[in-house]
């Protein structure tokens, strides 16, 4: 068994990664001091300190841990320095920070209301709060107030805003929202033809999902195949740095598109509100992870696969001792290999389909390490009280029903759900783009032209938000969207137009294999005629 050194829940070495831990600081969790390093999120530091229960559910007061680790599921919300409902997986530690769980008495870990989980339905069936304690008015007011407290929505802020709030107005040709592979590529390709570009990402780093991809990528050498995802992020960032007309704003969260004006909030020495006027907008906001229905799927220890990758590969924190992986797509298979590289055991991979979902070569990599892959199997339930202590899996018959008597217990202390992603499309809805449900590409996606322009002229999409695929395709889509945006603004001349057609052809060729077949079927349903002329 490969050995990797751990100390205080943190990896001390890794075959591929080097973790630079900055200054050691102390944060306070429900009053208790916790060691952390600058650059870590609150959730990561708490996890390293062995804390698994981050909140309690509203009604039943069931324990909740983190799930996504990228700010999309809200299971990790706590009160931070007096401000309620802060996502601790997106908040970076600062010396002396006061963090409190906001649901449960006295705290989320030992919540006395946990008894509700067993009795609440008997006395207060769903909807009963509309009928019980409704009069007299003082009683209703009193009960409402107490119930609000118990649900854990947090208390009104005790702290007043102490920082300096600035304001900036910016005019650009092309605004790119999201600095993952799709967004970076769009910024480079619009920028290289001379367009004035602003690239905004809510993280303090560029790269999006790439920053946790320690494996070498597929594709062709031209698409940087054989290079690790983490290095591709760096290469793209260097290309951006060379372009003076591309302004990169990190820790900048875009909250709204109001016709061609965009509102964003930038953190920094001075927090500020940005009002961005952009002639073209490329939305490259990526995707979030789906979950799966099974008993106790909300138990701390049931995590999104990407969440575990973030914890392990970005912050160097050990997710557990032995994991169970649900889903054998590339994400599940790669995560399994990465867990073993970090010295974490994997009990098994379960897959509901009769065959492995990802690339055979990824499966062979983990199979030869002795990790079983159970196809036509599913997870029935997670075991444990406050966190995962095991799981029950079962065979599935031809009708996808569990086979009686085939149940089996798997010993594990965490479960990774790797059953796919859904596009992060909220901004597109808000901007008024026409959307459509296309299961082949991961859910609700915008209609777009072959140049990735949506039904709102001047708003483009690139990467997972346009349909779940992978990084190489995201880079190629970013290239198409970026060049089209630049050329329709008059930049680049014939050269740009020629490259645009090449870029479209490249992507078609890339998708021509059997793995691209489903994508192409999906695209047929959401690509509209190319009425946007150049």
């Amino acid at each position: 068994m490969p050995m990797t050194r751990f100390e205080d829940g943190r990896l001390q070495e890794h075959p591929i990664l080097e973790f630079e831990r900055k200054r050691e600081v102390t944060i306070y969790f429900n009053g208790k001091p916790i060691k952390a390093y600058e650059g870590e999120t609150v959730a990561a530091a708490l996890y390293a300190a062995g804390i698994r229960v981050f909140s309690r559910s509203f009604r039943w007061h069931r324990p909740r841990g983190f799930f996504c680790a990228i700010g999309k599921c809200s299971a990790c919300m706590m009160e931070v320095d007096g401000i309620p409902n802060v996502r601790t997986c997106k908040t970076y530690v600062r010396d002396g920070m006061q963090v409190r769980t906001q649901s449960g008495v006295p705290d989320a870990e030992k919540d006395v209301f946990a008894v509700f989980d067993n009795i609440i339905d008997r006395f207060f069936p769903h909807g009963s709060h509309y009928k019980k304690f409704t009069s007299p008015k003082p009683l209703r007011n009193f009960v409402t107030r107490q119930l609000r407290k118990m649900t854990g929505f947090g208390n009104p802020p005790k702290a007043t805003f102490g920082g300096k709030a600035g304001y900036e107005e910016i005019d650009v040709d092309v605004l790119v929202i999201g600095g993952g592979s799709g967004g970076m590529s769009a910024a480079i390709n619009a920028g290289k033809y001379g367009a004035k570009v602003l690239l905004a990402d809510e993280n303090p780093f560029l790269g999006g999902q790439l920053v946790k991809q320690t494996h070498r990528f597929f594709g062709s050498a031209r698409h940087r195949a054989g290079t690790r995802g983490i290095r591709i992020a760096k290469i793209l960032e260097e290309e951006i740095a060379k372009l003076e007309n591309v302004d990169v704003r990190k820790e900048t969260w875009v909250f709204g598109i109001y016709s061609r004006e965009v509102g964003a909030f930038q953190r920094g020495d001075e927090d500020k509100l940005l009002r961005i006027r952009a002639k073209k907008i490329v939305v490259a906001t990526g995707a979030y992870e789906r979950t799966l229905v099974f008993e106790n799927n909300d138990l701390p220890g049931v995590y999104g696969a990407g969440g575990v990758q973030t914890l392990m590969n970005v912050y160097g924190i050990k997710p557990g001792n032995i994991g169970l992986i649900v889903g054998s797509g590339n994400v599940g298979l790669i995560l399994t290999y990465q867990l073993r590289q970090a010295g974490v055991e994997v009990a098994a991979i379960v897959e509901a389909m009769p065959h492995i979902g990802g690339y055979f070569v990824h499966a062979a990599k983990v199979r030869r390490l002795g990790i079983p892959i159970y196809t036509r199997h599913t997870i029935l339930k997670a075991l444990g009280k406050r966190s995962v202590e095991g799981a029950i899996i079962s065979k599935l018959d031809e009708n996808w029903k569990p086979v009686k008597g085939s149940e089996r217990r798997i010993d594990c202390d965490f479960i990774c759900v790797a059953v796919g992603l859904s596009p992060t499309h909220e901004l597109l809805y808000q901007a008024g783009c026409e959307m459509k449900f296309v299961p082949e590409v991961g859910g609700i996606v915008p209609l777009r032209t072959r140049y990735n322009e949506t039904t709102v002229s001047g708003i483009y999409v690139a990467g997972d938000v346009a349909g779940i695929e992978e990084a190489t395709a995201a880079i190629m889509e970013g290239r198409i969207a970026g060049i089209h945006a630049a050329t329709t603004l008059g930049y680049g001349g014939d050269e740009a137009k020629q490259e645009l057609e090449e870029a479209v052809k490249d992507l078609e060729e890339f998708r021509a294999g059997p793995f691209g077949e489903r994508i192409c079927q999906g695209l047929e349903k959401c690509v509209i005629g190319s009425e946007v002329r150049i």
Binding site: S220, A221, V361, R368, G370
Partner: protein, 163 residues
């Protein structure tokens, strides 16, 4: 495609073996990558034109006579699907594989030999390594083993864990 139900190849699904004569001459690339996936760095890396691939989605096929054993392909394969095979005198064989775990293996280390399912099938000795820092953290490890195992052994683990 039965191999997609199991996650490993059975005998009848393996690519053709190079001849004994070829295996004795010098090491040869043996590629276990049967599924059409959009991937081609092995093909692009090969200076001897020994890897056949019609398009990026076509599985690679090695011409064992053209392969010079230069190891350019095995250095970059993201699927860890390439193995360099060789037969030596005295019933000894060698398999070179990509290795990305701690502790890094060194020349002289004894290793457990694992087959495609992860079962231990014997013990071998590392007789050469390309250190991880020379290949962006993918070490290449050449392991000496009984000749009859070179078409079976596809992973290794250190025998004793060094501190």
């Amino acid at each position: 495609m039965k191999y997609l139900e199991r996650g490993y190849l059975e005998k009848d699904e393996l690519p053709p073996f190079p001849s004994k004569e070829r295996l004795r001459k010098k090491s040869v690339a043996y590629i276990e990558c049967p599924q059409p996936i959009p991937c081609s760095p092995c093909y692009e890396a090969c200076p001897a034109d020994a890897i056949k691939m019609e398009n990026i989605n076509d599985p690679p096929e090695v011409d064992y006579e053209k392969c010079t054993g230069c190891m350019k392909c095995i250095r970059v394969c993201p699927g860890l699907a390439i193995f360099m095979l060789r037969l030596r005198n005295g019933g000894i064989g060698e398999v070179t594989l990509q290795y990305e775990f701690l502790p890094w293996l060194k020349k002289g280390d004894r290793v457990r030999l694992l087959n495609r399912k992860g079962e231990i099938v014997g013990e071998g000795v590392v007789n050469w390594v390309l250190p991880p820092e020379r290949n962006d953290h993918t070490s290449l490890v050449r392991v000496e083993m009984p000749a009859e195992l070179i078409f079976e052994v596809r992973a290794v683990k250190p025998v004793e864990v060094r501190k």
